[in-house]
């Protein structure tokens, strides 16, 4: 399953740092976000774009996560050579993240397979 099925997202920028929120549509999926959308998973998903640290902040009261991606905007919004210098489209890339849904027998499965 793609993250997009259970969560929505918005990207913000400050200098060379991007932040991406991941917000569960339904609070019952917050646990899935916590479990599957880790800093590691996000760092791997953005390999080749994000050169610095990825930090995750948890907001249980709104069933959301906030990721802070350092050195992620090609040297900074005001000097980047990138077409999307603000990295505004990164949220859409993160929603493409594939997450494994645990089945009742304990195994994991990609829903598309």
């Amino acid at each position: 399953m793609r993250l997009r099925e259970i969560a929505h997202s918005r990207t913000g920028d400050k200098g060379n740092t991007s932040n991406i929120s991941v917000i569960a549509y339904d609070p019952k999926h917050y646990g899935l976000l916590l479990q599957h959308v880790t800093s590691d998973a996000v760092r791997k998903h953005f390999a080749g774009i994000v050169e610095g640290k990825v930090t995750r902040f948890e907001l249980p009261k709104i069933s959301a996560l906030n990721f802070v991606l350092e050195q992620a905007l090609g040297g900074g919004v005001t000097r980047s050579l990138a077409l999307d210098a603000h990295g505004k489209s990164l949220s859409s890339a993160l929603l493409d993240l594939e997450i494994l849904i645990p089945l009742s027998d304990g195994s994991a499965q990609h829903s598309e397979q």
């Binding site: 997009r4 929505h8 997202s9 918005r10 913000g12 920028d13 400050k14 200098g15 060379n16 740092t17 932040n19 929120s21 917000i23 549509y25 998903h45 953005f46 390999a47 080749g48 774009i49 902040f57 907001l59 009261k61 709104i62 959301a64 906030n66 802070v68 090609g74 040297g75 900074g76 919004v77 005001t78 000097r79 050579l81 990138a82 077409l83 999307d84 489209s89 990164l90 890339a93 493409d96």
Partner: protein, 445 residues
Amino acid sequence: MKTIRIGSGAGYSGDRIEPAIELVEKGDIQYLGFECLAERTIALAQHQKMMDPSAGYDPFLEQRMHAVLAICKARGIKIITNMGAANPVAAAEKTADVAKQLGIKGLRIAAVTGDDVLDVCRRGDFPFLEIDGRVQDLGARVISANAYLGAGPIVQALAGGADVVITGRVGDPALFMAPLIHEFGWAMDDWERLGKAALVGHLLECAGQITGGYFADPGYKNIKNLARLGFPIGEVSEDGNVVITKVAGSGGAVTEATCKEQLLYEVHDPAEYIQPDVVADFSQVTVTQAGPDRVRMQGGGGKPKTGKLKVSIGYLDSYIGEGQISYAGPGALERASLALEIVRERLEITGAKTSEVRFDLIGVNSLHGAASPIGGGPYEVRARVAGRTESLDEAVRISNEVESLYTNGPAGGGGAFKSAREVIAVASVLLPQELANSAIQFLEV
């Protein structure tokens, strides 16, 4: 309990004008904020002011004031904006001109200055936060230094009877915090209330981004009538809690989801949202739909301010040369890829002096580079090359190498575009707050 209603009339300089008119006509608001300064805007404005001392304020100031000034004055709605950019005094004078043209009398306009800290930053020893080095290292390349001032001077201007307050660089939320502090008489060390005020400002400062703008994703997040998007109103009560709403019948939507997205927009640690007046805490905020297009947000908090102000230093960084050209139909991807290879080789052969070059296939990998999925070729692809240089001439060479693919490159290239531009970049330093002295000038029409 006393409540006040604050409208947000712009989320950036080029924003739509009609939603602000709708707010003043139908929003039953007492304050209207226009947030119009992006990170780099003030550096560019400073550049203009250097060439013309009466310039350097927001290019849409006159149009916006024409649109709302008369009705705001008639209804007692106060306007607060950072459209002063690099020249708040000239912006106030221009606003006075507009008032005169409209036949408005008894209008008091305040210009807040003091954010320009270029001299202090040139003399002092300030290391950059995001890049290596110090302000002094950049020498004459530094063109502007503007501190993010807090809400204090705006509150003073309101207390002085201002109908319109025009600032340069202030923390964006400060434009909306000031009326709360002024109306409710909150102390500047009441950290919890200032934190709640910062939350209100943060939610409102991007205008339509909380009422359904920048949100729609058909099939997943449907939003109606974005062509007539209504801008937000913050209905704030004396306890600091806020209901976000909009004018009935306007486009867009105010839902828990739109509010949550904006709550985290441009936030790093939600427990430490650093503003000039307070370190706000958004981590315990709750978001509850209280009615159609009405969302209540509670639980904002705050801690003492850091005592330092963030300063944006604008400097001449480099030049960027860029070119694009499109390919379509069978083999589009292969021809666009060939185009990039040709330019890559040309830049080597001709010895182009670049410190960084980027090769993109728009439609394939231009947005997410190596993180893009690999899939079937698209029907059309646009090849793009962008390179950083030390001179405009070198930048022009890069753009020409793409354009000349017309007659020298793969078959069927069309729609070439080129540009070569100077880059004014921005980096930040921290300044002890006592080194920035704000001042207020009043103008009366």
